[in-house]
Symmetry: C2
Subunit: 161 residues, 2 copies
């Protein structure tokens, strides 16, 4: 019994390369973060997501959508981070029945302390291994994929252009 | 207090695009798999990894390395998959003190049943949204990154070439 292989050689290299790179990149960058800060990659991602908003807060539903997590998984994560005073839960400004996750002073300080090392790690394992053309193509490729994945739009063109 | 932003615009689009795409792509492809088969993306990945070897078996250490998981996380995963008879644990051929994970008949059948839908899903969410140049560049880019991440080799050239 064989698995049908409906991907051609380049497609297969792109997809399998993506899957393998994804796991190894997360591991390498996660190890650097753990060594140099008290944050996991996931915690850094949550803090950086909150930091990216003007008020340093985000509705739990929106944050779950950004991270593509279930509400329940996010809720457990936020509870763990609340215990460490990295984030707080507050009533949402627009609708008191909903909750926002809010970056605390401790969270901001922890994020800012971790950022230089994390950015250096992203450079080392990802950016500095790629040339300008690869980087620019990657940036455009992820723009295209994100547009599709967030809006359900079809890609900009048929596969072969 | 601000996070230093040491990535230029293209670098930032490439990295943040990568992180956001990664989470959404895994979610979209995971949802398709869950709807059309009894497998999670992780389970599919384990079965496909075993299937990719000539004997449909792999040492637990090697499998942990392929997936970039701790031995303990892998062991729990394999135990859950053993209960469903998707894989079996056997003494390693080369060293009976070590264990191999082995693809069972049920595992093979489950994988082969899931494969056409999974490949269609990978096409839909990933490959078909990209043109030939993007795909070829991605394939080369992931080759470069994997070579570095698996061997600790420096990238092929300084950043600007």
């Amino acid at each position: 019994m064989a698995i049908p292989d409906w991907l051609d050689e380049t497609e297969s290299r792109a997809w399998k390369g993506y899957v393998l790179t994804r796991d190894r990149l997360a591991a390498a960058i996660g190890r650097d973060l753990a060594r140099e800060s008290d944050l996991t990659f996931v915690e850094y991602h949550v803090l950086a997501s909150l930091h990216s908003t003007p008020q340093h807060r985000m509705g739990l539903s929106e944050l779950a959508d950004t991270l593509q997590w279930s509400q329940s998984r996010l809720s457990h994560q936020i509870t763990r981070m609340e215990r460490r005073k990295l984030v707080a839960r507050e009533s949402a400004v627009r609708d008191a029945r909903c909750s926002d996750a809010v970056l605390t002073e401790t969270g901001l300080e922890t994020l800012c302390n971790a950022a230089p090392g994390h950015i250096a790690s992203v450079r080392k394992h990802f950016i500095d291994n790629l040339d300008d053309v690869q980087l620019a193509t990657l940036a455009d490729t992820f723009d295209t994929l994100l547009k599709y994945l967030t809006g359900g739009e079809p890609g900009p063109s048929p596969q072969n252009t």
